[in-house]
Amino acid sequence: MGLYLLKRLLLAVPVLFGITLLVFIALRLAPGDPALYLAGFDADGATVQAIRVENGLDKPLPEQYVVWLGNLAHLDLGRSVTTREPVARELEMRYPITFNLAVAATLLATVVGVAVGVVAARFQRTWIDYGLMGLAMAWLSVPNYVLGLLLILLFAVTLGLLPAVGASKPVDYILPVVTVAAVGAGMLARQTRAAMLEVLSQDFIRTARAKGLAERHVLARHALRNALIPVLTTIGVVFGNLMAGTVIVESVFGVPGIGKLMVDRILARDYPTVQGAVLFIACSYVFVNILVDLAYVAADRRVRLS
């Protein structure tokens, strides 16, 4: 296990370097002089030159990259061009919102998805199964920003039950969480159903039924437990996707998380902040995926650690 963890972490190193390089190059290719952005457009030539030297922007690109990486290691992501705040601080303030949204949505998706999957497997090839799987397919297919708008239209505009935008009261989070959870619930429902069907066809289930266990016990104690192993991976994938998937939804509902920060700053051409936000989300994505792999190994002793 320890060895596997080490190997998995080592494999992540080139990936993380790749990500930093990609982000660095992308933003250096941006049109316009970064020194001019830092100085402000009305600055005179001497000031711009001073800022260029001060920030090391007169050095060759590879050297700039190394310096930038060094700063990154100290969590120094530079300052926002719009607010003049350190980017790291802005991210620190915003990430709990995105994180909580993703956690709440993952929980909701898991509960709904697993329940739907189990019920569909229990009633395989009946209209209940077809109905539920149709629903899961619909959840998977409706893009989250479309679902978000339709939910706003129904619950906020037409029925007036829930707020359309905002992020101050807990009730504000109901629609965003439901919206973000939908895709995951659809994925999990399909995955759970498939896993349950596979387990239900095995001998030990026949044994359990033969010794007279109630179907409910067979499903909950024998089948679901074994079916959950592949489902666990999907839960992790869902969570990883949600960290990135909230980007658009946050803008729909005006939730001030990292995603909204990024979209707002793209429109404002605030490159350091965009850079920081992209790096942050991409790295969380990588780490969540490592955690998923570890959880998978821990849950299923049969997985060979080669």
Partner: protein, 257 residues
């Protein structure tokens, strides 16, 4: 779906109105006999705009799939066939790209290059490279060990000929299935970018940006949101169903899953 994109491909002939023709005297009308799906804030016909939007999505989706396949398939084939150092480097590159959530790369490029459709297509294509490479590599690894490939080599076929004529054609089935899914993902992402104002720019009729405009008038004219929302959802649902059906048809093991 066929109907949707079929209509999209002949949009210029079937659309009842010019998708760009504004007429403020009939702005924000609900659905009627004259304008079946109503009009938007500038009095443009929503049905016509949706049809032209379908044409745009179709074009962008196909181009993105072409870019992804064009780079991903050769890369995967070479990786699988030659293995070794080339494979190792190729796979790490693919890992990096795959570790990057798609929407982030699209946003990053939009941030840097400005919202330009050509760039968007490029990004959508690049995003699907890892999937194609993985798939193609996997199936080439299997195919290259089959005896007829050995036979081809034995009768003196060159490496290139073996790969292109013998290995590739027998490794392409999963790649083709995947294309329907990649097409759906591209259409989805294009609409998402359009919605954020980072994809196709107004006045281009594009589903996502129509949705974003409709959002502003949601209280008074819900039809401006509902129709684009329906079209996007139906398009992606249909593509997912096609993908599922193809997978079931070509992979008997997964028939019940």
């Amino acid at each position: 779906m066929g109907v949707l994109f079929g209509l999209g491909s002949i949009a210029p002939w079937v659309a009842p109105y010019d998708p760009l023709a504004a007429n403020v005297r009939i702005q924000l009308q609900g659905p009627s006999a004259v304008h079946w799906l109503g009009t938007d804030e500038l009095g443009r016909d929503i049905l016509s705009r949706l049809l032209y939007g379908a044409a745009l999505s179709l074009r962008v989706g196909l181009l993105a799939v072409a870019v992804g396949m064009g780079v991903g398939v050769p890369l995967g084939a070479l990786s699988g066939y030659y293995a070794g150092a080339f494979d190792l480097i190729g796979q790490r590159l693919v890992d990096t790209l795959q570790a990057f959530p798609g929407i982030l790369l699209a946003l990053l490029v939009a941030a840097v290059a400005g919202p330009r459709l050509e760039w968007t297509i490029g990004v959508l294509g690049v995003l699907s490279i890892p999937v194609y490479t993985r798939l193609c590599r996997g199936s080439v690894l299997q195919t290259k060990q089959l005896s007829y490939v050995e036979a081809a080599r034995a009768v003196g076929c060159g490496e290139a000929r073996v790969i292109v004529r013998h290995v590739l054609p027998n490794s392409l089935a999963p790649v083709i299935i995947q294309s329907s899914i990649q097409f759906a993902l591209s259409v989805l992402l294009l609409a998402g970018l359009g919605f954020l104002g980072l994809g196709a720019q107004p006045p281009t009729p594009e589903w996502g940006s129509m949705l974003a405009q409709g959002r502003v008038y949601m209280r008074t004219s819900p039809h401006m949101v509902i129709f684009p929302a329906l079209v996007i959802s139906i398009a992606v649902l249909a593509l997912n169903l096609v993908g599922d059906a193809l997978r079931d048809a070509l992979d008997p093991r997964g028939a019940d899953a």
